[in-house]
């Protein structure tokens, strides 16, 4: 799991290849915790998210990781994590989705050389609904990755504040 660190480790202020590291971090979380493989979409998707998880970074890296998908997809993710039928998922949905976001953020952080010791993660926050905009309070770069979970889009966005 440290291959990406060796391959992409660099100054934390250089964001080159961070999209690849972010994608690897997400794929690993889905493979290990959901026993599910994320795939790459053949063409851009019109995304219609109605659940969003956010985990903040503070310290040497300031920003936020945003994970978005449909409620149906998040329900399926929770069922895969817990090993139960999707119909049995109720209030665990938000908890599971937040943990997935948290693990992607942590896995990403751990793969960036020099970042782990000086960067803290917030606890996850969940937003239900899709009609909102994120307004960063300072200049922010966005790294966007879209992958498919069981054929449905999952967007992963890292907003890095400089």
């Amino acid at each position: 799991m440290n291959t990406a660190t060796a391959a992409f480790g660099r100054s934390i202020h250089s964001h080159g290849n961070w999209n690849i590291v972010l994608e690897i971090a997400a794929r690993e979380v889905f493979e290990l915790m959901l026993n599910s493989e994320l795939t790459t979409p053949a063409a851009p998707f019109a995304q219609d998210h109605n659940i969003t998880a956010m985990v903040g970074f503070a310290g040497e890296l300031c920003g936020v990781l945003i994970l978005g998908c449909s409620l149906e997809s998040s329900n399926l993710m929770a069922s895969r994590m817990l090993g139960v039928h999707p119909g049995e998922i109720a209030r665990e949905n938000c908890d599971a989705f937040g943990e997935i976001c948290n693990m992607i953020a942590g896995n990403f952080k751990n793969k960036i050389s020099g970042l782990g010791n000086g960067c803290m993660l917030s606890v996850p926050a969940i937003i239900s609904g899709g009609h909102y905009h994120v307004h960063p309070l300072s200049r922010a770069e966005a790294i966007e990755v879209t992958l498919l979970f069981e054929g449905a889009p999952v967007s992963i966005s890292l907003r890095v504040h400089n």
């Binding site: 290990l32 908890d95 599971a96 693990m103 942590g106 896995n107 952080k109 010791n117 993660l121 606890v123």
Partner: protein, 128 residues
């Protein structure tokens, strides 16, 4: 192997269930799983119960896992009980701080049941 009483400390109930499932997949005979949502709740559980194993997250509200591990040295029911951290915090400094405070193992999330088995079984052998 004797039946094990485990305390799982994580602010996510989903993660507590996954950790419990991993323990069972490791082949451990679990007689009881006690749960706590943060370090303070864990101390309250340990004031009333003895356990054989503690699995603990780091980033939690109220009292984090590192603070909990430090305080366990003064808890009668936790004396000699192995603590394994299971956390998204994978930095070297976190590992060093956890092990220095008394943790006996450190597993980074995401994790597999096999990793839990590799860390936990030897510790319970030593503890038994």
């Amino acid at each position: 192997m004797n039946q094990i009483r485990a305390l799982i400390v994580d602010d996510s109930s989903v993660m507590r269930k996954i950790v419990e499932r991993s323990l069972r997949q490791a082949g451990l005979e679990i007689s009881a799983v006690l749960e706590a949502g943060n370090g303070a709740e864990a101390l309250a559980v340990l004031a009333e119960n003895h356990v054989d194993l503690i699995l603990c997250d780091i980033n939690m509200p109220v009292m984090d896992g590192l603070e909990l591990v430090k305080r366990l040295a003064t808890v009668e029911n936790a004396r000699g009980v192995p603590v394994v951290m299971i956390t998204t915090e994978g930095s070297e400094s976190h590992v060093v701080r956890a092990l220095s405070a008394g943790a006996r193992g450190y597993i980074r999330k995401p994790f597999t049941a096999e990793q839990v088995k590799e860390h936990v079984i030897p510790l319970l052998g030593v503890h038994a």
